[in-house]
Assembly symmetry: C2
Homo-oligomer: 484 residues x 2
């Protein structure tokens, strides 16, 4: 049994071989696996359950903003894409093209959706006629397809990925801009509260924004390998799409106006970020709020029927107590695995709390609870265990966010000289003054590999300081980093 | 206002122009709309909400069977499809092929998933090694793509459709067969209880079964135009896929065996069936359990601020009372629409219960409740309105199923002569004795357009009766009908 444990555990170190560690964790924790087509992955139930949990929490938050869900097909005719050429040009090299159905060649080629602005707004132009139809706020849970030629990685870079894309239409610019920020707030709040990952938010630079947008807001997180990961974006589209797609409305005065639009999305990258942030050399470590199983009960007994019966009956009692408190709980009643094997197995899968019950615990009406994220062990009484475990899970959630915050803070640097800037690039977020000139931004990217991740709000202007690259007058203090 | 009402209402009769009535209902009730590619549709929020409600109820029922959800990509390499040629041949004329990504031609063409057996079982062969890995039960909520050349129709015949496909693997034949029937039971129960549509269940004939299956079980419903609609299928795959895809497991005795498999699915056709079954000339009529809005409150007042305030405050009170009972409720507080306009609008959308509140109702602490499905009006006291409305919604649900049952019973015919058989075909389900010979089945299809929809269980054998077509000895009594 011990030998098997070694084989199925993680054999790479997060510290020294991050990339291999990540891939092993994804596969051995049974979150995802490679599909037969390069760049595509399959989600196993534990991986998909995290996505379902995110869907549920986002749906609840989106509903508060009056957003409802809809469905769009995956096929977009090439002729439609021509309507907003500038926007679509960016996707051209990545688009999968359907040219045949059965043996027949299609007249108009069909693109697999790399994003749905063109399709959604073709529909919206039919649905929006009057101010009474506004605001229109629809979110779509689907996949986007973008052929990845570079090295692919589960959840982070795949040719098809699960995401949500929200598309709203408003009568006024002000209302649309408020929506852009409201969605960014939802993203920040959800990622921090549910996934226990700290983020920084702000605007993308002109160079890094979504081509079709007037401006793009984003949340970014720093990963343990020093690279930044874009966690979500919210775009102010102004009238850039409403004009070519004819999304117009008659206002109360019966005068026609072009509408104001937004779009925003997050993808299963969030799951990748969660694995990288919280996993360790024993495998995955799940924040309790999104964990498919929050507590696993491991009964411990010798080869003795009466002892087994006593322990199993205590285990059932504990399971019921936790279930009645809404805790997602599982009893590992496998007879052909040792407790040690089970401990390793559930640590690999990242279950936040392990509850051990042995014969002595049965006698003393207690259990031993072990926290996955820091290994802390404590004895807990069976009486009122449900509420107590709920409390422990909340503590774990909070502690995981706190630990991630400290880690991120230690990887965020203020620099004022280009030598120091270069040194820090690739090791974390680097905050530095910029003149606002795209030429400096490009030189920095060329010379260091770092790009502007976001320009935090409230830090757009910094009087008297000078650009890290050219020494000219500073305009803002962006966060630079190498990115995924 | 009256003029507008006429324009936006349904202008075709369900009785005399069923097809046009259906299309108008789908579009004007804002359930779905046509996408820019022929044969593809878009779901608007009210349509998608029904799908979400079905997902929720199926997820709950699937979980009781130990089924969990996963994710599969939409792209399947052509080379993989060759492994189970017979199965895939049936889909060949309908497959969308991706030949290019960007400007590069792909080496191996990629099929858009018409169904996922080949892909799922390629993965399963990696995941299943030992008896410990069984049973494996995963469901996938995704879309399937099958290019439709024939006349397309929203929800019933589209080139991409939302569905779920479940795929299970078992150690024994018996366990797999039990699963096939358990899933069929879930389908029957859910369709009847949630959508208020009666179904008949049974086996498909050899000719009509899923090509890859040993046998196919199905549920079928009869639509008001006399045509049958397949509502769901559950396939016993035996070892037909485990052999070519190498889904093997080492049993407790360490001997390797090929596994036994099942697959099963329902699609958004269920939504089409619901519209056809319950809609009328005023539009959609939703069974309460799946209705996105179960009760709409229409406040009625004259142009008088005090009166308006009184009525609106009573409406809020009623809304809160219903919400606290878990009723999905909406207050139509539009100031620019008359009550009459609102009545028509919500009847078109099919909200099961309308609650009218006027000044006299405020005085008498009551409301007027109007049931969508039969127009019945009743006065209800505001006191304990929440539980009372819940009860009314349950009554409506039950009454809608009852009415649909009666209608279906009136469209189900027993015939023993071929002349009568021919006459009834196209008007409903026709029960007739069959000798079991595929030649008779084919002749019947050719001569009448009807096919065997299902062979109900328990009716496989009927001694002494003779085949409706050839007069030979009867083997079973299938249900024949023309189908969608």
């Amino acid at each position: 049994m011990e030998k098997q444990t070694v084989e199925i555990g993680i054999t790479a170190s997060k510290e020294t071989d991050f990339s291999e560690w990540y891939i092993q964790t994804v596969q051995k924790a049974e979150l995802a696996d490679y599909a037969p087509v390069k760049g595509l992955i399959v989600l196993r139930p534990d991986g998909y359950a995290i996505w379902e949990s995110l869907q549920e929490t986002f749906n609840r938050r989106f509903a508060r903003e009056g957003v409802r869900n809809g469905f769009l097909p995956v096929l977009i005719p090439e002729s439609l894409l021509g309507r907003e050429k500038e926007h679509f040009a960016g996707f051209n090299p990545e688009v999968f093209w359907v040219t045949h159905s059965g043996n027949s060649e299609l007249g108009d080629r069909l693109a697999l959706r790399p994003t749905s602005e063109t399709l959604a707004y073709t529909m919206y132009s039919k649905w929006v006629q009057s101010w009474r139809d506004l605001p229109l706020k629809i979110n779509f849970w689907n996949t986007a397809l973008r052929s990845e030629i570079k090295a692919t990685k589960p959840f982070l870079r795949t040719s098809e990925f699960l995401w949500q894309e929200g598309h709203t239409v408003h009568a006024t610019k002000e209302e649309a801009e408020r929506q852009v920020h409201a969605m960014l707030d939802i993203y920040r709040e959800t990622v921090e509260q549910e996934l226990a990952i700290p983020v920084i938010s702000g605007a993308k630079s002109e160079r890094e924004k979504f081509v079709g947008a007037e401006y793009t807001m984003a949340i970014e997180s720093i990963m343990p390998d020093g690279k930044a990961l874009q966690m979500g974006t919210s775009h102010f589209l102004a009238q850039n799409f409403s004009k070519p797609f004819d999304v117009k409305f008659a206002d109360r005065d019966n005068v026609e106006h072009y509408a104001w639009q937004t779009s925003w999305g997050v993808s299963w990258r969030l799951i990748g970020a969660m694995i990288m942030t919280h996993g360790d050399d024993r495998g995955m470590s799940m924040p309790p709020r999104v964990a498919p199983v929050q507590a696993v009960i491991v009964p411990i007994y010798r080869n003795d029927k009466r002892q087994r019966d006593d322990v199993m009956s205590a285990a059932s009692e504990v399971r019921e107590a936790l279930e009645s408190e809404g805790v997602r709980v599982h009893v590992d009643d496998r007879d052909d695995a040792t407790p040690g094997f089970k401990f390793n197995d559930w640590e690999l899968k990242g279950v936040p709390l392990r509850i051990e019950i042995g014969p002595r615990d049965v006698e003393s009406r207690s259990v031993v609870a072990v926290r996955r994220h820091d290994g802390r062990k404590e004895s807990m009484g069976v009486k009122d265990l449900g509420p107590a475990v709920r409390g422990v899970l909340e503590e774990i959630q909070e502690a995981m966010l706190q630990k991630a915050r400290e880690k991120a803070a230690g990887m965020t640097f203020d620099v004022s000289e280009y030598a120091g800037f270069k040194e820090r690039c690739g090791t974390g977020f680097v905050r530095a003054v910029w003149c606002g000139d795209e030429k400096c931004e490009e030189s920095i990217k060329e010379e260091t590999g770092a790009e502007i991740r976001v320009i935090p709000l409230g830090e757009e202007k910094e009087q008297g300081s000078i650009c890290i690259r050219c020494g000219g007058q500073g305009l803002s203090t962006p966060i630079f980093a190498k990115g995924y």
